[in-house]
């Protein structure tokens, strides 16, 4: 009886001595605590869609459109998602654009640090790919990922390099890579081209394939945009071209019924 008296709440709705600490709102899920934001997996905000990459004899091409989507809104239409790392490496990212900007700033600083050392050594495409893998895997292990699919391409020691890293740290090298919708729509086209040419694509053929894929993506990816940047790396260095567009053929619209 005495114990029951002692376990009365101090005031109505207030804490009771001897009980686990109860307070208003403890069990209500719409009260978010400040620590949740740090611990929870992030969500992308402004996003870029597919990035394509394709090796050819003597170099690599990558392509990405210049759209930063805000959900379903085509909000930022002149956004560059391709960066030059150094004279032998380029990098492009799909996914959250802010995270790409962070990666870009980190890498640019690493390149500056190397220039300052001035010892004739510079990051190879393989080194950039490896660093990217370590960085992305580390972040995902903290449950705080950089929400990107990164493509690293380059030409080093006479060989083409093309690699991909995911937001969860899945990394691999391949003759053709594509992120986002490109993985479903463009990758089969690129792989077919590689197979038909005996793994020995010329620059012109590779370029043609990439442009075809970009057109297909514009037709079918609802978050794409008809303005893209193409970047090429060869032994002569890096060239990121001015944005261009595909010439889509909408004649098929004539036979479509039901959307008039």
């Amino acid at each position: 009886v005495i114990m029951a008296d002692l376990m009365q709440p101090f005031w109505q709705g207030g804490p009771s001595p001897g009980l686990f600490y109860e307070y208003p709102g403890k069990w209500s899920s719409d009260v978010a605590s400040p620590s949740d934001a740090r611990n929870r997996t992030s969500q992308p905000t402004v996003t870029g869609t597919s990035v394509l990459g394709l090796k050819f004899t003597g170099g690599v091409i990558i392509a990405a459109d210049t759209l930063g989507s805000y959900g379903s809104m085509a909000r930022f239409r002149n956004v560059s998602r391709v960066m030059k790392v150094n004279d032998s490496t380029i990098l492009s990212a799909a996914g959250d654009y802010a995270d790409f900007q962070f990666i870009k700033a980190e890498i640019e600083q690493m390149v500056i640090d190397e220039e300052v050392l001035n010892d004739g050594f510079f990051m190879s495409p393989g080194a950039v790919h490896s660093w990217m893998t370590r960085m992305l895997y580390h972040r995902r292990s903290k449950f705080d990922p950089l929400w990107n699919s990164v493509t690293v391409a380059g030409f080093y020691n006479g060989e083409s390099f093309l690699g991909s890293v995911d937001k969860i740290g899945i990394a691999f090298k391949s003759a053709s890579v594509a992120s986002g919708f490109g993985a479903y729509l463009a990758q089969p086209l690129m792989r077919k081209a590689i197979e038909d040419n005996g793994d020995n694509l010329s620059y012109e053929k590779a370029r043609h394939v990439i442009e075809e894929c970009l057109k297909v993506l514009y037709y079918r990816d609802a978050r794409s945009y008809n303005r893209y940047e193409i970047a090429v790396v060869t032994k002569d260095g890096v060239k990121i071209e001015k944005p261009s567009s595909s010439k889509p053929d909408w004649n098929v619209a004539n036979v479509v019924r039901g959307f008039e």
Binding site: L117, D119, G120, F121, M123, G126, A127, S130, W131, R134
Partner: protein, 255 residues
């Protein structure tokens, strides 16, 4: 600085494709094993030390961890120059902080990277030098003289010939009663298509045998200079006229 001069001699030299280290291991007494001088830092870098062994271990561990860290992040081998610069940065701090003492060890670094083979020397002063060939440690001046004399031959040597030059130079540093043997010698080789290999004990005999072949046809050169306080230890030495020891001609360590 003194500690480095008191440690037993070690020599590094390189050709166009390889870098080698040879070292004379010292035993405090017959009861104690010869002190290891050559350590592997990574598949492409080896070091040889002269001076305080404990400080050498500390720096060696640091060098290993730098190499591993770089390989983990970038999947490429750490350029030798960058590793040596990192050692220089680390050893500089205790030369400028109150209450700390410099690392009492001189290191010869032999490494191979994209720019070819390298020999670097680091000092307790935190200076480091990119060398074509170098000898440090006790009585190393005779070895340096040998290296200077034969410098132009090294570029085209095979690794075996490099080691033979190294051992010949090492022999110059020995007191007359000592001989190079598998007990007191170690060798390391690294280079193009050849990850670092260190040779100890019995394995060194293949190189010592090369030396024997040459010995019979070799003219013994007169050693040029004498270390302070060690008059008369090497055959053919001329003691200083005035009776005062000559100025040491060790590589200056800017302090």
């Amino acid at each position: 600085m003194e500690a480095v001069k008191q440690g037993s001699a070690t020599i590094g030299l390189k050709s166009k494709t390889h870098a080698v280290l040879v070292a004379l291991k010292r035993a405090q007494s017959d009861l104690i094993a010869h002190q290891k001088k050559i350590e592997k830092i990574s598949p492409h870098i080896g070091i040889s030390i002269s001076g305080l062994t404990s400080d050498a271990r500390s720096l060696g561990n640091y060098m290993r961890s730098e190499c591993m860290h770089h390989e983990f992040l970038f999947n490429t081998r750490l350029p030798v120059s960058r590793l040596v610069a990192a050692v220089g940065d680390k050893t500089q701090t205790p030369t400028q902080r109150y209450g700390r003492r410099p690392f009492g060890v001189g290191i010869l670094v032999a490494g191979f990277d994209e720019k070819g083979p390298h020999i670097y020397q680091t000092c307790p002063s935190a200076n480091y030098y990119n060398c074509k060939a170098m000898a440090i440690g006790s009585r190393s001046q005779s070895a340096r003289t040998y290296l200077e004399r034969h410098l132009n031959e090294f570029a085209d040597c095979t690794p075996e010939e490099l080691v033979r030059h190294g051992l010949t130079a090492l022999r110059e540093t020995l007191p007359s009663e000592q001989e190079l043997s598998v007990k007191n010698c170690s060798v390391a080789v690294v280079g193009e298509g050849q990850d670092l290999v260190a040779y100890e004990d019995e394995q060194v005999s293949i190189f010592l045998d090369l030396l024997e072949e040459k010995r019979s046809s070799r003219n013994v050169p007169a050693p040029q200079q004498q270390e302070a306080g060690q008059v008369g230890e090497l055959p053919g030495l001329v003691p200083p006229v005035s009776g005062q020891p000559r100025e040491d001609e060790e590589q200056p360590m800017d302090m």
